[in-house]
């Protein structure tokens, strides 16, 4: 054996690299069996059910599928109802999500951590209990039930006036130039002017009610077992989604660009539209699609407030249940397949957005307050 010498010191021949497992890696059998367990459980729990939905829906051919989706007037009506309820709930929660994220991730104030925790509250309320709450308030035997039944329409002008005034205030605050010296014409008006404009609006609506009888007295307003109840229940259940997705994204972006925009003279709206929205758009989209998926699929809360009047207050998930109870499985699966497509679409968007927004975990009680500090 030839031994190289280096200055008289024997150098051992280099050891041939052997395929040795690095000790901080799992042995192959562990790896294979864990992957097998994971894949098998995902297959049984998730993949087989999805495939089953489509196979069952299309089992009798595409003709029957389309017939059971669009031929049945009650099913058609349930699709329309879902398409009415979900956008309203979505818009309400979107507005809330944006204002909540703005106030929480841009400002420090006492009770901020508590507010973040309260936003998560609907997650820990069982949907059935959520529905029950609205029945207790607006149902026939509920706190406002008797009044709403007697002359519920009398409430409407007040409600409209309130929202009109709120929109006026929001518009005034958003579009008024930030720099006091740049305020000309109506923008020089103080808050008093906005408040009096709201009062005029209120007066007009009240006049419309009293003199023109636009909303007649003694007409009952149905909330429970009607569309408004469905909207309320859906909004409650999907309440946290947009805010929860938006707050971490806004925290991560930070206020510097907005501060710059404002100090360069942008109005609130210009800052919001040209700086804030482009910065957080993926978080916003993400929150909206999650909120949408949950709103379309909500069952428990809606079940309690809907009253199951066929062709009137059945949303798509409720229609699935009713068809299932009537042993109309093809019809039931047809509706289910549409909702499954929505869910898959949601996942695809989510997967593509994953690298664009900070990782959002499925944790409920997670406090975002601690992350906001730079």
């Amino acid at each position: 054996m030839h031994v190289e010498t280096l200055g008289g010191v024997a150098v051992p021949p280099p050891v041939a690299p052997v395929a040795v497992r690095r000790p901080q890696e799992d042995p192959a059998w562990v790896r294979v069996s864990l992957i097998t367990i994971a894949l098998a459980s995902i297959a049984v729990l998730v993949v087989i059910p999805i495939v089953n939905v489509f196979v069952e829906a299309l089992a009798a051919g595409p003709g029957v599928y389309l017939q059971s989706l669009f031929g049945d007037p009650d099913t058609r009506q349930s699709i329309l109802l879902t398409l009415t309820v979900v956008p309203i709930a979505l818009c309400a929660n979107l507005l809330f999500g944006v204002t909540a994220a703005w106030s929480i991730s841009r400002f420090q104030f006492p009770g901020r951590t508590l507010l973040v925790a309260l936003i998560d509250l609907p997650f820990s309320v069982s949907p059935v209990v959520a529905g029950l709450m609205f029945v207790l308030i607006f149902g026939l035997q509920g706190y406002f039930g008797a009044f709403l039944r007697r002359d519920g329409y009398a409430v409407l002008p007040y409600l409209f006036a309130f929202w009109g005034a709120a929109l006026l205030v929001i518009g005034f605050a958003l579009f008024r130039p930030t720099n006091p010296r740049a305020r000309r014409g109506p923008w020089r008006a103080t808050w008093l002017a906005v408040l009096s404009a709201s009062a005029v609006l209120f007066g007009l609506l009240l006049f419309a009610q009293q003199a023109l009888q636009v909303w007649p007295d003694h007409k009952s307003l149905k909330i429970i077992f009607a569309t408004p109840g469905l909207v309320l229940a859906t909004s409650f259940v999907t309440f946290p989604f947009v805010a929860r997705e938006l707050i971490p994204v806004m925290d991560a972006v930070g206020p510097d660009e907005e501060l710059a925009a404002i100090s360069l003279g942008a109005s609130g709206w210009q800052m919001f539209w040209h700086v804030t929205v482009p910065n957080v758009k993926w978080g916003l989209v993400y929150g909206i699609i999650l909120c949408n998926a949950r709103a379309m699929g909500e069952f428990g809360a809606v079940y309690v407030v809907s009253g199951h009047i066929a062709g009137q207050t059945d949303t798509m998930p409720l229609r699935i249940e009713k068809l299932f109870q009537e042993y109309n499985l093809p019809g039931s699966f047809a509706v289910a397949s549409v909702l499954t497509l929505v869910a898959i679409f949601t996942l695809v968007v989510k997967a593509t957005l994953e690298h664009k927004v900070p990782r959002v975990t499925a944790r409920i009680g997670e406090s975002t307050a601690s992350k906001g500090k730079p």
Partner: protein, 274 residues
């Protein structure tokens, strides 16, 4: 920073005011209404509503099945998270995306398809029923759908911790002569422990309130397969609003204490981890 923000950035009072207003009207006021309604019952009425034999059976079933489902998810979820973070295999990104499906899929669809899979003629039932495993219309079915519904929670709490885990600690442990199992048990597991507890609690909390999927697969037999939310709906359909509210308050108190417990555990484990 914040004082500068409040002086320069617009809309602090407006956005905070609207946030608190909307939160109060849509969430806090209804929850308060629920408690006020329950408080209007006399103590005996309350007790006779929440402590009947049927209600007790429903609580035991709700908590039993939720606990079993959360335990199953603890094992399954940590395996899935481990596999997704540590190994590479074809289709990994798809599996990663599929974990979130139970959050996006309507619970009614989940319940419907599980019920049809596990009946005698269903895709899985035709093999399982001859073996004596009846998942449809039984307690086993309830556990199954709850495992499905709460699948993402453990995975999504453990996964980020595992991704951030310092591999050098593992290398140090193995170079000091620890076996792979010792490294896992003494180095990795303690780091994951807080996330595992959180994931477990979240899965448990989610399962307690679940209604949409269970109603399809359980058969809803009083005393046997009737969970607490189904009992609430049954009371409502009898127009027994007081009794329904009493049971609802019991559920609310339990889920709120779970929420507080989760937060305390997280704080405790964060301190413990340091």
């Amino acid at each position: 920073m914040s004082s500068v923000n409040r002086r320069v950035l617009p809309g602090f009072s407006l956005s905070l005011g609207y946030t608190i207003f909307y939160l109060s009207v849509l969430v806090l006021f209804p929850i308060a209404a629920c408690f006020v309604k329950a408080a209007s019952l006399s103590f005996d009425e309350f007790l006779s509503a929440v402590w009947t034999e049927r209600a007790r059976a429903a609580y035991v079933l709700t908590f039993g099945t939720s606990f079993l489902a959360a335990i199953a998810n603890l094992a399954l979820g940590s395996i899935v998270a481990w596999v997704l973070v540590r190994y590479s295999f074809p289709g990994k990104r798809i599996v990663d995306a599929l974990v979130d499906l139970p959050l996006a899929l309507p619970t009614a669809v989940g319940g419907l398809v599980y019920a049809s899979l596990y009946v005698e003629k269903g895709w899985l039932g035709r093999y399982l029923v001859p073996l004596g495993v009846k998942a449809a219309y039984s307690r086993l079915g309830i556990v199954l759908v709850l495992v499905f519904v709460s699948l993402p929670f453990v995975v999504r709490t453990v996964q980020p911790i595992l991704e951030d885990f310092d591999r050098e600690a593992e290398e140090a442990s193995s170079s000091l002569g620890a076996t792979r199992w010792q490294t896992f048990h003494n180095v990795i597991l303690p780091t994951l422990f807080p996330a595992l507890i959180t994931g477990f609690a979240l899965a448990f909390a989610r399962s307690i309130g679940e209604y949409g999927s269970v109603v399809f697969i359980s058969g809803n037999m009083p005393y046997k397969t009737e969970i607490a939310p189904i009992l609430i709906v049954a009371r409502l359909e009898e127009f027994a609003y007081g009794e329904a509210t009493a049971i609802a308050v019991v559920l609310l108190v339990i889920s709120f204490s779970m929420l507080i417990l989760v937060n305390l555990l997280e704080n405790w484990s964060r301190r413990y981890a340091r």
